[in-house]
Subunit: 154 residues, 2 copies
DNA sequence: AGTAAGCAATTGCTCAATCAAGCAACTATG
DNA sequence: CATAGTTGCTTGATTGAGCAATTGCTTACT
């Protein structure tokens, strides 16, 4: 027989509880271990790697600040600071936007591209080892759909 | 036919790629929306809620600092500061440990317990709405197992 | 007993992230 | 075409986190 309490007062089912706790653990452990693997290898923290990654996939290897911030799940000011860090290492440069003089493009330099290529294998290995490996045998497509629903923020 | 490149140089399969991206999104969005729901309702950030939660489930509503830090996925120093914040609101107090004078117990006060009870329904609702809801129909037990494997940090 | 080694918790420092405020450039409206 | 409002990005202040060094207590060894 079903629990008669209204949902707002009914605790989670054991399997729900377990999933929620496990999610907390994943969110804590996975980014840290991936970051640690990468920093150990090639000195590129995950935030900066993600920025370079997104730039490398963009047409002309350039993106507007806002666009890049959104793609990296970072605030605009956070992105400004990330780009400053990357710029000071020569991995990115900033160029005024042609169409709109308020705007700036973050542009991946050749050095930045090279650096990304160096880091890429270790990122790939870390993602496989720390995350994907543990989901073998599951329906990844269905799972990704569920993740995207949860990530859509309603 | 299988991709002949060695794994280290082979990009992710599309479904793997999709899952990894979706995970990034979930890790960004879910804690923020839950936190926002809760702060909006009852002024308890997720870190502080988690600490109170763990204390409330512990025998005698008390835990050693190290134990609590581990349970909350926080460094010991981070936990010291969290407890200071909670203590200044009267939700927790610190007591020297009987058996070992180096140690301290964080103890949930009655006010802390009451506050937790007030916050609990909104946390419950947020977890259901922002996370669990999107996994209906999936095998939660299996999924939790995969999460725990990934969270075990090898 | 006395000393070295080890552990629990806190404190100082730094860093990356946010929010809020500000500035500069664009757009739309009367 | 002036000006009110909006948008794009940066800057300043604050916050919460970690690491490394420190303090105070315990344990283990001779």
């Amino acid at each position: 027989m079903p629990d008669p309490r209204p949902e707002a007062l009914r605790p989670l089912e054991p399997d729900e509880e377990a999933l929620v706790r496990a999610l907390g653990q994943v969110m804590y452990v996975v980014p840290r271990t991936i970051d640690a693997d990468m920093v150990g290898d090639r000195q590129l923290p995950l935030t900066e790697y993600t920025a370079l990654m997104n730039l490398s996939e963009a047409p002309d290897r350039r993106m507007r600040m806002h666009e890049l911030a959104t793609a990296c799940y970072l605030s605009l000011s956070g992105m400004t600071r990330t780009i400053i860090r990357l710029e000071s290492q020569g991995l990115v440069k900033r160029e005024r936007c042609e169409e709109d003089a308020r705007g700036w493009n973050a542009v991946l330099t050749d050095a930045g591209f090279a650096r990304l290529q160096e880091s890429w294998p270790s990122h790939l290995a870390a993602v496989r080892r720390r995350f994907l490996r543990h989901f073998e045998g599951l329906d990844l497509t269905e799972l990704a759909r569920a993740f995207r629903r949860a990530g859509a923020a309603d």
